[in-house]
Amino acid sequence: MRKFPIKIHALLVNLDGRVQSIIIAIIVGMVSGLAAVGLNRSLHHLSQLVEGTFRGWTIVLAPVIGIVLTVLILKYLIRDFGGHGVPEVIYSVGMKGGRLKLRAAYSKLLGSLLTLAGGGSAGPEAPVVISGAAIGSNIATFFRTNERIRIAVTGSGAAAAIAAIFNAPLAGIIFTMEVILGEWTALNLLPVAIASASGTILSRALKGNQIPFAHRPFQIGLTDILAAVGLAVLTALFAVVLIKGLRWAGLFFRRLTSSDLGKALSGGLMVGGLGYFFMEVRGEGYDSVRSLIEGRFERAMGIVFLLILLKVAATALTLGAGGAGGVFAPSLVVGSLGGFFYYQVLTAVFPGVAFAGPGLFALVGMAGVLSGTLQAPLTSMFLILEITSGYDAILPLLIVAFLAATLVKLSEKHSIYFQELVRKGLLIRPRTDARILADLRVDELLETDCIRIHPDMTLQQLVPVIQKSHRNYFPVEQRESGQFLGMVTFDDIKPYLFTADLLPTIIVEEVMKTDLLLVDRKDSVVEILKKFDRSKSWSLPVVEEGRFVGLISKATLLDHYRRELLTQTEL
């Protein structure tokens, strides 16, 4: 019985890369789509259960329980941590060849389910993205793909997750290319597109082909397109507030208490309090988005503005307290509220002008804030197009998405996902200098054909060695112990070599350099380059445990660098 699947496995392992990635992508798309729909469904049921159980003021306690459970389960049971997880995926495809632990496939899902069902303000998308990516990564490992394919398949998992949760295959593809992989190549696109499609198919089979936010067609005029410019500025502002709010909340909790449980308790209570007074800030918040787009939302201008700030606060507190979830949904909620608020202001200032309606502005606002926080204008534009199934809003969407992303960049240099990676120095994007340098290892660059010399040799004895060697650098070693003492360079001794009478009277010890910068075998190439810059030397010795192992020269480094660049160029 066992023979059959093993044969298939062996067959798949040795398939052509493209065929292999197509087959894997279909499987990955299905599995991570299933995870996405699964989270969506369980969240729906669990939220209803929570709302049924906690009535009146006790609803304040629900987020406390949700976040505390999240922290406890993640920390002690699964040994993971909260947050949204997208940076982990980006780090994994950037620096670890797309490797992700299997537990990442379910830990954030479970965590966000508890956090969100309890009423914590966050989004389910990021947890779905990391679990989809982890599913992809582990399936790729199972089929023993190479790293290039594993990275693409890891991205495919993320694409399928987004595609399945929003019923939006294009948004899934573009999110992965723009945010996760950062490299638009055919090799990447193939599995990503296929997984996105298969994830969407699965989602439609289970949930039906429903448009998440249906709306009536908008009549868009020139005034609306002009008004979009103002909305871009406003949404960029809200995006910056959201990004800063998240950072401040992190600092606030770190100063408040060092205990994870203390953070969860205090944060949960604050979120619960906010949610008790303003239902709109609770959970993922798609109900308010729906009513905003459909034009059913009725709140005064001041309250809407307050709601925007409170939603930001609730999200920052939820995630700062250790809850699991992302900023995708909160960005959309803040964006739709922001768009609605902008529409209210517009109609108050220009009472005579006819605008396309609050629904359009809520939609376009969503694209603006999402584009700002994620620094992903294409993703947000296509997401809104797809989830509203309407092409009519394309012009204002385009303007707001791209303008907002650019404006946010003035204040925040990196997207919310990149920020913590940049801070830790872990962000490496494809096709950059850092990417190539990170791949090179000291051992690959090592030149070991150096002739070792001893400190008591005279220059006369050194001359034949120099004649024999094709290098200009000679490591000096202690005769008995082999300990590295210094280097003699051809340049240093050149002045004496042509004075024949001096040769027998100068010994190596007298001409060797001892104030050298040494390279460790474990040094990264970035560090080695810094040492080259500092020492202004063309070659540096690699020394391990006091012994000379080889030389690293700038010329060889360039040679290897170029070869590495050649292999990374895809035709």
Partner: protein, 220 residues
């Protein structure tokens, strides 16, 4: 800042800066008569792109020693005649006694000189030897000292050309670079026939110094 100044700041050729400006790789502003740079912008840009700006005012090569380098060192060491001794040990022991700058380190210096002689003879031919320690000794010297000794009788040093030694140029340097500089100066002098002939008349020590200064002036 001008493109020229930026090229100097980054230690790059001017043409590269011009190319970068055309390709839009480096931040710059334009005026009617060309481009100019804001130092702050360029520094930030360099930092963002992991450029390490060369430190200012830190030359890699030390200044070239001045013309009277060896002459002064000989003057500091003094020119001594009538050095007694039948072998290397006796010669060194007597010479070290006559070097006041060594102070209480006589034993250590003697040992270091003999140690160096054991590895390879410092007899560089034509009756000249240049005894010196292998490493810089902690004598607290700020400038090199080269005491010159004329031997009473020629002593076998196992020199390169097999000739017995009659003149000793002891070399004591504060660092290895100075030592090597002194060596090349000395070997330059030794290639001059005039210098050799002067050395044959130890009584006229003033002439020896003069010829060192003279020959050194021609050193390139």
């Amino acid at each position: 800042m001008s493109a020229r100044e930026i090229a100097a700041l980054l230690h790059l050729p001017l043409v590269k800066i011009h190319r970068w400006v055309h390709q839009g790789k480096i931040p710059c502003k334009f005026k009617e008569d060309g481009c100019y740079f804001l130092e702050e912008d360029v520094r930030r840009w360099a930092e963002e792109h992991n450029f390490i700006l060369p430190e200012e005012g830190k030359a890699t090569l030390g200044p070239r020693p001045n013309a009277g380098f060896l002459g002064h060192a000989v003057e500091r060491g003094g020119i001594h005649t009538g050095l007694q001794g039948a072998d290397i040990y006796a010669l060194f022991a007597n010479a070290v006694e006559r070097m006041p700058f060594i102070g209480r380190h006589t034993g250590q210096v003697l040992e270091a000189l003999l140690d160096r002689e054991e590895i390879a003879s410092t007899g560089i031919g034509r009756g000249v030897a240049i005894p010196h320690p292998r490493r810089v000794l902690p004598l607290g010297l700020e400038e090199p000292v080269v005491p010159v000794f004329f031997c009473e009788q020629p002593v076998d040093f196992g020199a390169v050309d097999g000739r017995p030694v009659t003149v000793l140029f002891f070399i004591f340097s504060p660092d290895i670079k100075t030592h090597l500089n002194l060596l090349s100066r000395l070997s330059f002098c030794l290639r001059s026939p005039r210098f050799i002939s002067v050395m044959e008349h130890p009584e006229k020590d003033r002439r020896l110094l003069e010829s060192i200064y003279e020959i050194e002036a021609r050193f390139k």
